[in-house]
Every structure is written in structure tokens, then in C-alpha cells.
């Protein structure tokens, strides 16, 4: 069995249990909000809420460099800190936080493999108190936009077939049967997918216990749809958080050099006047 390309970007629940109190380690639970954290969390962990702390709350965007620096400073993180992120739903929102930390150049950021679900199911210790944090004066690197795809790049990729597009939403979203995950509000005008995209739902990268599948299984999963790392890949979903999970898998577990997360995703493309939309599922993976 082959190893992940960058195994240092993942830590086990056992590693976190051993190192959560280390002064050079900061554990952060990230979910859509902090309700799960408030129930009980990894002792010593702090919480980041995706909907208020990891997005620009005025215009649609990721955090600015300044806001990212404020968040890291308030969280007691320095550029030398080992930042370990975990969350619910197989690290769905944790991966979004990791993607932004990488965009702003944080050197050592890792996911806890299996996330909150694995920690709970193993009966590990949970705390309800919030740790005391000593603020820092964090300075980030300018945004590395090689990790992020914007609309013009996606349009160019579609027209020139210059990149593989992977749509990581559910098959029902991909075919336009539904406009948002079941039970969540509809946020776009049209259903379907970006022409040429392959549908590999994000959760297929995970085992039942929430951990990532092996490198061989992942290589098989993405390779079967023509994604083998030889061409640039753009991952997208509805609003960019599920696709940050797939971005992590392709970038760090499989070691693809050129993979970007299109965080505008379907809520941008599916609302765009005149944008081409496909609903059919492609029969062959050869054209990716």
C-alpha cells in the first residue's frame, strides 16, 4: 500500500490526545457554527465558526489577509504554531479553514483524520470550558492565488478543455434534480453542472469512521474519472467548502501539483446569465 503524498498534513485522534496541550500546537474545531463545540470539544481546542469567522460577512469572499491575521492573532497562533483543525461531517468545514490557512501561507497546518465523529465514537475526553488564549501578532503571507480558481479561469478551462473539472456535489445536485443539498435552502436559479465536469461526491474520499480512504483507494477513485494529476484540476461544489475537502485530498493526499478550489462554485455559475449548463452524466471519462 502506498503512502499519502504529504502524510504530515494529517494527524490521528491519538496524536491529538497526546499533543493537544503542547504549547506549540493549537487545536481548532471548525463547523458551520459553534453549536457542536459548545456541546463538548477536544480539551484545549478553540472554535472557529465558518459562517462568521471564515468568510467575509459583507461581500462574498474569503477572509482578507488583514482579517485572517486578526483571527490567527486572537487565536494565539504564531507562524511557527502547528495548527490542527478538525470538525464535524468528516472535516467538511475544517478543510475550508485549512485551505485558507494555506492560501495565507501558514507553514504547518494539519487535519485530524476522522474529525469530530471519530473523536466522539472513540469515547475520547471532551471539555466544555474554553481555554485561555494569549493573543499574538500574527503576520500572514500575501494570498497564494495558485490555490484558488476564479470564474474567468473556470470559463477558460471549459472553453479550452485545459483543466479537469471535478464537481463534488451529490449526484442529484449534479444532474439538476435538486438545487441544494436536501433540507437546505435553494441558492441558485438553475440546476445542473459546468460542462465537462466529472461528478465525484466529496464524501466518497472517506471511510465509514470519517477517516480518509487509503492513497491507493483515492488514486483509483479519482483516476477512474481521468483525474491523475497530469493536468490541472479545478474542484467545485455549491459554495466552495465541500470542494476544499476534495482540494485537500488531491493536493496533499495524492500530491497533485496543480489543483485549485473554485469557491464561487455552483452558486456563482448556476446564477450566471448565459453560462452553459449540462445536466447529463458523461458516459466516458476520457475527455477529462
Amino acid at each position: 500500500m502506498s503512502e499519502y503524498a504529504r502524510p504530515e498534513t494529517l494527524v490521528s485522534t491519538a496524536w491529538v490526545a497526546q499533543h493537544a496541550a503542547d504549547p506549540d500546537v493549537r487545536i481548532v474545531e471548525v463547523d458551520v457554527d459553534t453549536k457542536a463545540y459548545d456541546e463538548g470539544h477536544v480539551p484545549g481546542a478553540i472554535a472557529w465558526a465558518w459562517n462568521t469567522q471564515l468568510c467575509d460577512t459583507l461581500r462574498r469572499d474569503i477572509l482578507s489577509q488583514e482579517r485572517f491575521e486578526e483571527l490567527m492573532s486572537a487565536s494565539g497562533i504564531t507562524p511557527e504554531t502547528t495548527l490542527v483543525i478538525y470538525g464535524d461531517n468528516n472535516n467538511w468545514f475544517a478543510a475550508w479553514a485549512l485551505w485558507q490557512a494555506k492560501i495565507y501561507g501558514h507553514r504547518d497546518v494539519r487535519l485530524m483524520n476522522g474529525g469530530r465523529k471519530k473523536w466522539l465514537s472513540e469515547g475520547r475526553e471532551l471539555a466544555t470550558g474554553k481555554p485561555t488564549v494569549r493573543p499574538t501578532n500574527y503576520r500572514a503571507h500575501p494570498a497564494d492565488l495558485a490555490l484558488r480558481a476564479f470564474l474567468p479561469q473556470v470559463q477558460e478551462a471549459v472553453e479550452g478543455r485545459s483543466a479537469g473539472l471535478v464537481d463534488v456535489r451529490s449526484p442529484q445536485e449534479f444532474t439538476g434534480e435538486i438545487l441544494a443539498p436536501p433540507g437546505l435552502p435553494e441558492t441558485c436559479q438553475r440546476g445542473g453542472h459546468i460542462p465537462g465536469a466529472r461528478n465525484i461526491p466529496w464524501g466518497r474520499a472517506c471511510n465509514e469512521d470519517g477517516t480518509f480512504k487509503s492513497a491507493d483507494e483515492l488514486r483509483q477513485l479519482y483516476g477512474a474519472e481521468g483525474l491523475d494529476g497530469t493536468r490541472p484540476v479545478i474542484a467545485y461544489c455549491r459554495i466552495g467548502e465541500r470542494s476544499s475537502h476534495t482540494w485537500f485530498v488531491l493536493k496533499y493526499l495524492l500530491g497533485f501539483d496543480n489543483v485549485t478550489n473554485y469557491d464561487g462554485s455552483w452558486t456563482e455559475w448556476g446564477n450566471l446569465v448565459g453560462a452553459p449548463v449540462e445536466r447529463e452524466v458523461a458516459k466516458s471519462s476520457a475527455r477529462v
Binding site: E39, N90, E125, L126, G129, P171, E177, I178, P181
Partner: protein, 75 residues
């Protein structure tokens, strides 16, 4: 205060025509439950109750309300 999740359990059920993953566990004297849609795996509701049945019942009722609003479109 520290504690452990006890009697952690996960199962799949169908609610309003959609597969739902319902998780429950006990933290101290309180039961916690959450419901996620199976595909794509988004959290729908997180609740507490005095028993597992009560917590899961609340989670599934609320999940049912949300899922019933989901519109399927013809291909």
C-alpha cells in the same frame, strides 16, 4: 469539566423520501442527537433530550420538516 461521549450510535433511516443519518450519544445525563442528509452529508439539525428516543425523535421530526421542503425537478 471533562466528559466522554457514551453509547455513540449511528444509523440510517428514510425521512420524507431522503436517506438520513441519525447519530446519538450521551454526554453526562443529556442525550445528544443530530441528523444529516446522507448525500451529500450536510448537518440538518442538532438537538438534546432526556433519553435517546426523545433526542432522536426531535432530530428526525425537524429533519423531516426541512427535507419536506426540498423540491425535486424533472430531468
Amino acid at each position: 469539566m471533562t466528559m466522554h461521549a457514551e453509547e455513540f450510535q449511528e444509523r440510517q433511516v428514510e425521512v420524507a423520501g431522503w436517506p438520513v443519518n441519525v447519530t446519538s450519544y450521551r454526554l453526562g445525563a443529556e442525550w445528544h442527537s443530530k441528523a444529516d442528509n446522507v448525500s451529500p452529508g450536510a448537518n440538518l439539525v442538532r438537538v438534546t433530550g432526556a433519553t435517546r428516543d426523545e433526542a432522536e425523535g426531535k432530530a428526525l421530526r425537524r429533519a423531516g420538516e426541512l427535507l419536506a421542503r426540498t423540491r425535486r425537478r424533472p430531468a
